[in-house]
Subunit: 304 residues, 2 copies
Amino acid sequence: MFKNIAVVGAGAVGFYYGGLLARNGEPVTLIGRQANVDAINKNGLFLETASFKETVRVNATTDMSVVKDADLVLLCVKTLDTVSAAREARAFMRPDAIMISMQNGVDNAERIKEELDFDVISAAVYVAAAVPQPGVLKHTGRGDLVIGGDFPETLLKQIAEMFATAGMPCAISAALPQQMWTKLVMNCAYNAQCALTACSYGTLVSDPGAIQNMMTLADECIAVAKAKGIVLDPADIRDRVLKLGPAMPTTFSSTYQDLAKGKLTEIDSLNGYIAEQGKRYGVPTPLNAAMHALVRLRETRKPA
Amino acid sequence: MFKNIAVVGAGAVGFYYGGLLARNGEPVTLIGRQANVDAINKNGLFLETASFKETVRVNATTDMSVVKDADLVLLCVKTLDTVSAAREARAFMRPDAIMISMQNGVDNAERIKEELDFDVISAAVYVAAAVPQPGVLKHTGRGDLVIGGDFPETLLKQIAEMFATAGMPCAISAALPQQMWTKLVMNCAYNAQCALTACSYGTLVSDPGAIQNMMTLADECIAVAKAKGIVLDPADIRDRVLKLGPAMPTTFSSTYQDLAKGKLTEIDSLNGYIAEQGKRYGVPTPLNAAMHALVRLRETRKPA
């Protein structure tokens, strides 16, 4: 058992995974922005999931130095803040403490390793959730995760069991890179289209034009993955893209949510990452580049 | 001189060209929707152009049957309504009356010919304008036009002189199809991107990602034009695309304006037309197809 778990970044992902751990009695401290911290310290963290509505008491603070007490740190910040948040947390972390990157994108662990020479466990997290107001989590789909990497099997098992016991199925996979890339493709196919059109995943997947875009976006991603040595099965990927919408019909992407709140998005780590890597490896990615450019421009405007 | 000029469709284009003709003493009647007709009958048509602000008295009605008195009909409806409006007007038109299509897109005259077996003069109209409220035109750029087609030279000259005398430079061109296609490419490069990002033409043209999209969109258009026998010079087209934004930096596309008002757009006649013709001729148009799909989806949502 971990004696103290710090969740760095109190958004939808941090609230969901950290909140459910706290609900199961794990010693969780959420580290986030003032508005969320104030709301949680006053009213607790309100979890509205598909199966229950419940207020969970959990420690919350804006003070990163509490990381010094943690033996497990869940990095749940936006990918824009990956390196800066990891660096700040690392300054306080005990040498034997473990960090898990629970973020979108495929290169967070790589970036942290490059910048801080520090090995973190990677997780592919699958959850549809939003923070409609400070201290409130609205969960609309899934909530499982996959972990992996070059860490002792006993440690990975301990982590997986902790999540599973708290109601979040957690697999350990040797094929984690493929799984993270597969998730990236889903994000590239849905996030920007949802953000630019203000249409839910269910609406997108019922539109032939949007589906055609998804297929083109996915094909570009698969080609970039291949250039980087990650083999994805095109038929499997297309099938997963087509099934995601029906499985989460009412979901709006985090990219949409960020734009609606007037915040910067993670688009640089999604379609932008594909476009950048495509350029590096000489793989054409016009549609991912287009989505990246459109969302970036939209970020400069007022919320929709 | 024409004895009676009916403007079918009282939006930005009809207000601008019809309004400036009326201001110059031409016998113009605007035919449009109730809100605009009421505002014009009560207060006149208010023209706010780059060079003057003036209220123009002009006849306005919702009644299409007044077309029976016209010897010249300016068709200024959205391309969605091209055939239906032409059919309705045609039912009242004198046999010797002339119609000019003053619309976006390249196939209005063709569609009218196919559906109604009726020859209309085509015009490429160049004007940046909006109707911020009923009976009010805000003009932000250009205001010239080019006409052409298989009509008597004397008639075309008479029309061109009428517009020119009223302050709207009007060329007669044997290369009208190229000019209409060139305008279509500009629309395909700017309209959807502006609508999806809520960024002005000036902002778009200062963004490398948006420029890259414009070039890809333009290249797809040029390839489709070529398949249809219309030869466009790629270097010239690219140059025009890059110069449009700086020439109209504060402009927002009609597509943006339509979405903002919760109205259907003309996207089927712009990027949608390129995607459709690309499919017909086997020319790949993934980015035009994407823009078409995104704007179509956006039409189903509430105004931004």
